[in-house]
Symmetry: C2
Subunit: 259 residues, 2 copies
């Protein structure tokens, strides 16, 4: 929408702790209005999934979980609470790898989440829950969550905006964590540059910047994991609204050259 | 250095095409001065490796390359210029996978670069060279390149700054390309949060945001692949100078749970 070559990102300060049933969209709108920062056309709000999951009640009390045989076996192998393993398996379509490094107190399951994302522990998270013995799942349908938030934000401010919901993933081959997009509204997952030409006229046959993941990773620059800053406002990004899904960032298994 | 929760990034406009022997640091300094934008304490300059590689003469004329037997065999298998394959093999310590998808005109070698990065074609690049039958390699020692640039920038403006040199990588499991850090000066590769606590006091045992990769990915928001904007200036990032290396972003093979 803009093409100024300048982007700014700012964490929304003062978002309260979110609880099941909270009106997250209303809280974000109120925060933006209170800070006298109405959304402008083309702004993008990047939101950590945890507050979305909490508002939607995607919290599991481990006391209510009875692990089945597969969970008990894996838990034994990687020294992990079998109830957590059970929750991870329920969120997964397959376990890619189960392992425990010597320096880990408890091991990790690399799993394919039912939504297709491959990540540690099927994105089941036990930090920032606020209670012991509870874990947080991804939203049931993160794209739908993003669309609901986006619609409310657009209604409140009367402009076109985008929403990216993120989680923090580890990566094959590279150390350190980055945020990635797991839910999208209006923001393109990737910019398809197939057929465009580079600065010297050579056809760029395979260049597809992952715009949504660039936004997600950038949000980590101001979204402190230990801070209560789960929402980051981007201005100045060059993008066009489209009918997107975070699923468009998942590489089909048959074309994954990196396996 | 700052902690305002607000970051801005801006592409440096008007960087000319770079040729072997060009004084890239001088060109960047002149550009910043001409735009009346002196570097401030804590600024970070993120630079696409291609201009660094070109200035350093890391360009190979394929006409001068005689492929050996291994290159000829792989080239046949994946339908790729055997001279390119030879250059890729010379840059690599091992080939992770050689393949050609039905939709590809020529195939791809996923290879471990001699610097440890695992990426397509050992980062040997044939776009944006400006001449047919030439390819660009990574800088010989990207950390050293970053340090030289950083020292010149600091001298010119009398402030502490950081430099990140990037390349554009594909990713296992996720579609679309993102920029990653392949050379660092002063900017931490990762922020080690081991032992810190999340907002609810739970110890964050494994949270290590990959700051340098967050910066690299964010730079893609304004660093158009087909534009001549190879340098992006970040202001407002919270960071401390340290003795870093992009090698700190490479996951040791024995602890890579994702393989």
């Amino acid at each position: 929408m803009t093409a100024q070559g300048k982007v700014s990102l700012r964490a929304l300060e003062g978002i309260p702790d979110i609880h099941p049933g909270d009106d997250l969209a209303g809280i974000l709108i109120e925060n933006l209005k209170r800070q006298n920062r109405p959304l402008k056309d083309g702004d993008i709000l990047v939101i950590a999934h945890k507050v979305v999951s909490k508002a939607e009640g995607q919290i599991v009390e481990l006391a209510n979980i009875t692990p089945e045989a597969e969970a008990l076996e894996l838990a034994e192998k990687i020294h992990k609470d079998p109830r957590k393993v059970e929750v991870i398996l329920r969120e997964s379509t397959r376990v890619v790898r189960a392992m425990k490094r010597p320096d880990q107190q408890e091991g990790t399951l690399i799993a394919e989440h039912r939504l297709g994302f491959i990540c540690a522990n099927a994105a089941v998270d036990e930090s920032n829950v606020g209670r012991e013995d509870t874990v947080i799942l991804l939203p049931k349908d993160p794209d739908a969550s993003a669309h609901r938030l986006c619609a409310r934000l657009q209604d409140a401010f009367g402009v076109r905006v985008g929403v990216v919901i993120t989680d923090t993933f580890g990566r094959p081959w590279r150390l350190g964590l980055v945020n990635v997009a797991i839910g999208l509204a209006q923001v393109p997952a990737r910019i398809d540059m197939v057929g465009e030409r580079d600065a010297f006229g050579r056809e760029l046959s395979v260049t597809m910047p992952a715009l949504a993941d660039e936004l997600a990773a950038a949000s980590g620059l101001v979204m402190g994991k230990s801070d209560k800053t789960p929402a980051v406002l981007f201005s100045g990004v060059e993008w066009q609204t489209c009918d997107s899904s975070a699923g468009q960032l998942i590489r089909p298994q048959q074309e994954d050259m990196f396996r």
